[in-house]
C-alpha cells in the first residue's frame, strides 16, 4: 500500500511561447514508512515535484495520491496535518521577527491543538534543542539550530509524510551529520515516510531506500540503494553523477 503515488506528473511555468516544462512525465511510488530520494542537478525539477505535491504550484497535470487524498487543485485542510515540508535554506524558512516559540505556537494553534506549551517543549526536546532556545529569534540561532526548528515545525501537526527539500545543503558538514542522524531517528520513532531531495548522492545513499535520478525534468532512472552502493548505474547520466561525486579526478575531466 503506497503512501505517496505520483503518475505522469507534468509541471510547467508560464504559457505559450514562454512555457517552461519543469517536470515531464514523472512517475514513482513511495511505500509507507520508506525513504525516497530525488536526486539531480539544479534545474532538474526535483524541488518542483515537492512543491507540486504540497500545492505550492498550481500548473500541473497528472495524478498524485497521498494516502487517502487524491490531490486536486487545492489541498484540503487535513492534508497539511498529514504531509509537511522542510525547506532548504534555514536562513529563509523562519520568519525573521518571530521567535521559536511563536513559530511553533502558531503552527500548533493553526492545527487546533490545545496543550500548546507542553507540545512546544516536547517538540524542542525531540529535535535536540533545549528549553533555552524557546524564546530566541532566528538571528540568535546557528544554521543547524534553525534547521532543527524548521524540522520541529514540520513535526508539530504529527504528520506521517515529510518532504525534505535539500535539508542539509546549506549546513556545514559536521552539522549535516547531526541533522541527518536526527532525521533518521525521527523517522524511526514516528514511523514517518520521507521524500528527500538532494543534489548530493552520498546524502541520498545514506538516507534513502530508493532514489529517482532526474535530468532536465525527467526521471531517467529509479535506483535502489544497493545498486547505488555497488556503483551499478543503468543510465549514463547516473554514471556521470556517481563519478563526479568522488572529488576531482584529472582523467575524468579529460573525458567530460
Amino acid at each position: 500500500m503506497s503512501r505517496v503515488s505520483v503518475e505522469n506528473l507534468n509541471v510547467w511555468f508560464g504559457d505559450g511561447a514562454d512555457r517552461v516544462d519543469a517536470v515531464k512525465n514523472a512517475t514513482f511510488e513511495v511505500p509507507s514508512g520508506a525513504s525516497f530520494g530525488l536526486v539531480g542537478e539544479s534545474g532538474s525539477g526535483k524541488s518542483t515535484i515537492l512543491r507540486a505535491i504540497m500545492g505550492l504550484v498550481t500548473t500541473w497535470s497528472g495524478r498524485m495520491t497521498v494516502g487517502a487524498f487524491e490531490l486536486g487543485k487545492k489541498r484540503p485542510k487535513d492534508f497539511y496535518k498529514d504531509v509537511q515540508m522542510v525547506f532548504q535554506d534555514p536562513y529563509a524558512s523562519l520568519h525573521p521577527r518571530h521567535s521559536v516559540d511563536q513559530v511553533l505556537g502558531e503552527t500548533l494553534s493553526l492545527h487546533g491543538f490545545r496543550d500548546i506549551d507542553q507540545r512546544i517543549m516536547k517538540l524542542l526536546d525531540d529535535v535536540g534543542l533545549g528549553p533555552s532556545f524557546r524564546f530566541r529569534y532566528p538571528h540568535q540561532l546557528s544554521g543547524g539550530q534553525r534547521q532543527r526548528v524548521a524540522i520541529a515545525r514540520a513535526l508539530a501537526p504529527e504528520p506521517s509524510v515529510i518532504l525534505l527539500d535539500e535539508p542539509t545543503s546549506a549546513l556545514d558538514v559536521s552539522v549535516q551529520a547531526e541533522v541527518l542522524n536526527l532525521l533518521a531517528d525521527l523517522r524511526e520513532e514516528h514511523k514517518l515516510t520521507y521524500i528527500m531531495v538532494s543534489h548530493n548522492l552520498a546524502v541520498v545513499a545514506h538516507m534513502c531506500d530508493t532514489t529517482a535520478v532526474m535530468q532536465n525534468g525527467e526521471i531517467v532512472e529509479l535506483m535502489s540503494v544497493a545498486d547505488m552502493r555497488a556503483m551499478r548505474p543503468s543510465h549514463p547520466y547516473t554514471k556521470h553523477l556517481l563519478d563526479s561525486s568522488f572529488g576531482y579526478k584529472p582523467d575524468a575531466a579529460q573525458s567530460a
Partner: protein, 286 residues
C-alpha cells in the same frame, strides 16, 4: 620545492564588536610556493578571512596584523592602498564563490575583462580585446565573441565562473586565491571548472590557494592541505595522506561525511573539544 611566493607568519584578523574584540584568524602561518595549497574549514573557521587578509581586502574597523606577510620578499602589510591596487588582480588574483555577485551586472562581459587588463597593463583597446578573447578561449568558452558582447545574467553558473577565472587570470598573476570557486556549481560543472583551473595553474606555474569546506574535493585537487578551526590551523598534511590525518577534528570531519560506498547506520558526530581552539596554531610553513 621551488621559490617561496607567499610567506605568512602569525596572521591575525581582528574585528571590534560590542562584546569585545573578535579574532576571526588567530595566528595562521604558512608558505606558498608554486604549488596548490588547500585551506579547509567550516563556516567561522577563518578560512575566507585568511584569503581576504592576504589581499588586504579587510576594511576598517577590522584589523590585519602579522609578524610577516610577504609576497616574493615584499612586505604586503607595509604597502599603501595604491601599491596594493597594483598587486590585486595583477600579481595576486582572487576568484570567489558566486559569479552572480562578483560580475558587474550592468557591464558587458568583454568590457569587464578588458577594463581589468587595461588598468593593470595600460594596453590599448584592441590589444585588450584580443587578450580577452584569448582568455575566454583558454577557459573553454566555445563562442568567445558572443560572450564578449553578452551580459552576466545571460550566462549559466558554470560559464559565469569560467568568465570569472578568465577575468582574474588575464593579467597573468603569480598567485590565484580561489575562495569556494565551485561551491555554487552543479557537480558536473564543478569538474569542468576545476580542470580549467588545474590546467591554467599548471601551465603558468602559478601558486594556488584553494579555500573550501569540501575536504575530499580539496584533498583530490591540491598538493597540501591546511585544516582550520576557530581561526587556527589544527593540522597540516599532504593531500594524498589525508586519510592518515591524526588531529581529532580532521578525523571527525572525515568521519561525519556520508559515503556512497560505505554504509553507516549513523554518521559520526563531531564532538567539539574546546582544547582545539586553545591549542597553538600548527605552522603550515615548509
Amino acid at each position: 620545492m621551488s621559490e617561496t611566493l607567499l610567506d605568512v607568519e602569525n596572521l591575525r584578523v581582528t574585528f571590534p564588536t560590542r562584546q569585545g574584540e573578535f579574532q576571526a584568524v588567530r595566528g595562521v602561518s604558512f608558505t606558498l610556493g608554486r604549488e596548490r595549497l588547500g585551506i579547509v574549514g567550516e563556516s567561522g573557521s577563518g578560512k575566507s578571512m585568511t584569503g581576504r587578509a592576504i589581499l588586504r581586502l579587510i576594511r576598517p574597523p577590522g584589523r590585519v596584523e602579522a609578524d610577516r606577510m610577504e609576497f616574493r620578499g615584499e612586505d604586503l602589510l607595509a604597502k599603501s592602498e595604491r601599491d596594493m591596487q597594483k598587486i590585486r588582480g595583477q600579481k595576486i588574483s582572487m576568484v570567489m564563490q558566486d559569479p552572480k555577485f562578483s560580475l558587474n551586472p550592468v557591464m558587458k562581459i568583454g568590457e569587464q575583462i578588458m577594463e581589468i587588463y587595461r588598468f593593470h597593463t595600460g594596453a590599448g583597446r584592441s590589444a585588450a580585446r584580443r587578450k580577452a578573447v584569448e582568455m575566454l578561449e583558454a577557459v573553454q568558452i566555445r563562442d568567445p565573441e558572443r560572450v564578449m558582447r553578452a551580459y552576466p545574467h545571460e550566462m549559466s553558473g558554470g560559464m559565469g565562473q569560467r568568465i570569472m577565472i578568465a577575468m582574474m587570470l588575464v593579467t597573468e598573476p603569480e598567485i590565484l586565491i580561489a575562495d569556494e570557486p565551485t561551491s555554487a556549481l552543479d557537480v558536473s560543472v564543478q569538474t569542468q571548472v576545476l580542470s580549467i583551473i588545474d590546467r591554467l595553474v599548471r601551465e603558468r606555474g602559478m601558486g594556488l590557494i584553494f579555500i573550501s569546506h569540501d575536504l575530499n574535493l580539496v584533498a583530490s585537487f591540491c598538493d597540501r592541505v591546511l585544516i582550520m578551526y576557530a581561526g587556527r590551523i589544527v593540522e597540516v598534511c599532504d593531500a594524498g595522506k589525508l586519510h592518515e590525518a591524526t588531529h581529532p577534528y580532521t578525523r571527525g570531519l572525515l568521519g561525519s561525511l556520508p559515503r556512497i560506498d560505505a554504509p553507516q547506520p549513523r554518521l559520526e558526530v563531531l564532538k567539539r573539544d574546546p582544547a582545539w581552539a586553545q591549542a597553538p596554531s600548527v605552522s603550515g610553513r615548509t
